[in-house]
Amino acid sequence: MTTTVPLLLFLLSAAIIATVFAVVARSTARAGEVDYARANHLRKVFFVSLLVILAIFLGLTLPRLPYPAEAAVPEQIVNVVSRQFAFSLTEGPGPDSIETWERDFSPLAEVRTGTLVEFRVRTLDVNHAFAIYTPDGRLLAQTQAMPGYVNRLRVVFDEPGTYNVMCLEYCGLSHHAMRGVVEVVEEAQ
């Protein structure tokens, strides 16, 4: 998703909060009594408004959860195996242990545009995060790689290109250098 909307929403909210605090701070220059009846009325309005805003955001966002819907069948499956400090991406099962890593490892997977791709993400050692970045540097999707579990991340790529994979869960000494690649090609190819 785009991060512009949440960023602007936050900056607007922060500006409103700072303005309200500044106005109240300036009001202390003139002494006066507080009209508690009016303050409580304002509080009620604030309370109801806040609940309405939160309900709207819940209604808008909960139907769009990133978790795989059982009804949809993925058209392509990529097995992602993580270890300190590399990802293996293959259409086959991939390495099932550190010992078979060199033999079965592949740093790159090729997928097609417009295809529902399911990444089955697991780890051979510690927690990692499998995060796919678009060619222009946006964070497209991510899921954790957790010992003993397979996390299924589904993505439809709209644009062809080279999508970098980075680890977003701190995993040790070379965490920042952990990489993989998803090469997205046009469907017709």
């Binding site: 949440p6 936050f10 009001s27 300190q84 050692d125 995060a129 540097g137 964070l139 991510q142 000494l173």
Partner: protein, 485 residues
Amino acid sequence: MNDVAATDTYPAQMTRVTLYWVAVGLVLFPVLAILGLVMRTLQAGFFAATPPEWFYAVMTLHGLGMVGVWFVAGLAAMSFLLARYVRPSLTVSWIALGMTALGVVMLVAATLVGKLGVGWYFLYPLPFFSEGTWPDWATAALFGALAVLGVAWTVWSGDVLRAIAGRYRLSEALGWHYLSGRDGPDVPPIVIIATVSCIGVLAGLVAAVVILLLIGWEVLGGGTANDALLIKNLTFYFGHMLVNITMYFGVALVYEIMPAYTGRPWKTNTLVVLSWNTVLALVMFAYLHHLYMDFAQPRWLQVLGQLSSYLVSVPAAVVTIFSTLVLTYRSQMGWSLAPTLLYLGVMGWAIGGVAAVIDSTITVNQAFHNTLWVPAHFHTYYLMGVVLMILGGVYHLAVALTSEAENVKRSRVMAAHLVVGGYGLMLSFYLAGADAVPRRFAAYPMEVANGPLLAGISLVFIILFGGLGLYLWDTGRLCVRALRA
């Protein structure tokens, strides 16, 4: 005020132990802040030859240290004010101080000597996969320190509850008689907040004990590997609770101290009681938002995480933050340093809270999880929120103990430095988060071009924030004077 008898030596001794806790905070805070400066300097690309294990060791000490320092500073300051109504044990406080010092020494040794780099929440099983970076003794020192600190803080928090129970029944300490309409004693807000907070601390620390037992059983008992999802739930339950409760300690100071400056009382009423009881119920589930990207977690828990994270913001906004504004409005309050810091702290809590609620939206979290948006929002409600509240509370205490006149002009210059430096630093984090710059990277690769740039810009604001040095000098001087008196 329902002060306990002040004819004995208890108040003087309570002041003494509190000042020692303050000293711990005033010494460790700047050291840990400098570690933060070191991290952003390395991320900006300076001293590129520095081995990454140093970055991650510093990151671990910075995170664990800041969480711990403000927890103990908050609990100590709240206990001091609470002693107006009930009597927390001085012996327990001294023992907790000694054990905390021991825990700090163990953590410093593990990180700066052993180069332990596991991050502040030491996510299982990373401590046991060092890849040769840190020795086994450093891992043992980490868990040893956590055990020492866990015992100390559990006993300390339990003692605060014991002290409250000496005067109020649990239902009274939670203010339930305000809701039912039954007769009962007047309960100051700080008693209710302390009760809610210490129950929360104990609940969090129980999870920490379970983690230590499970890991201990696996390592020492030779048992099979633990369930990583279970340990992760327990870890974030504990960590989230500890950080949230620290904020409530700061808020307790605001409730107790602000009325002294505004000249208006802040009394317990049904709204305050309802608010804090709701917080106690919801804060138990809000931690779930840390696991949104663990797709194996049951979906209903993910939805519960978003729902509880949204709802827990309501009592904070509608009761505490709104009431702070009402309390201040046209109060003709003099803006000396203590109320200024308390007021700015509430503002930081509000702004950071909005960013946190945005990030607690599952669909948004997929774009922000483990990017710099995360340190952005927690630094806002921590550094610009609870830290300012506690610093305000400590300054209030230091001035009250020494009766020294404040240099108001200097205080204003300092506050300006804090606001410009602090929010400039926060903005650099937010912009980086929105640009998907990962957190916890010792160095940024070529494709994350804005990472080093924004880290470099943040250095300017961190240096501006260094105006806080004036506060540390002033407050430290006043505390030494008070100790000698």
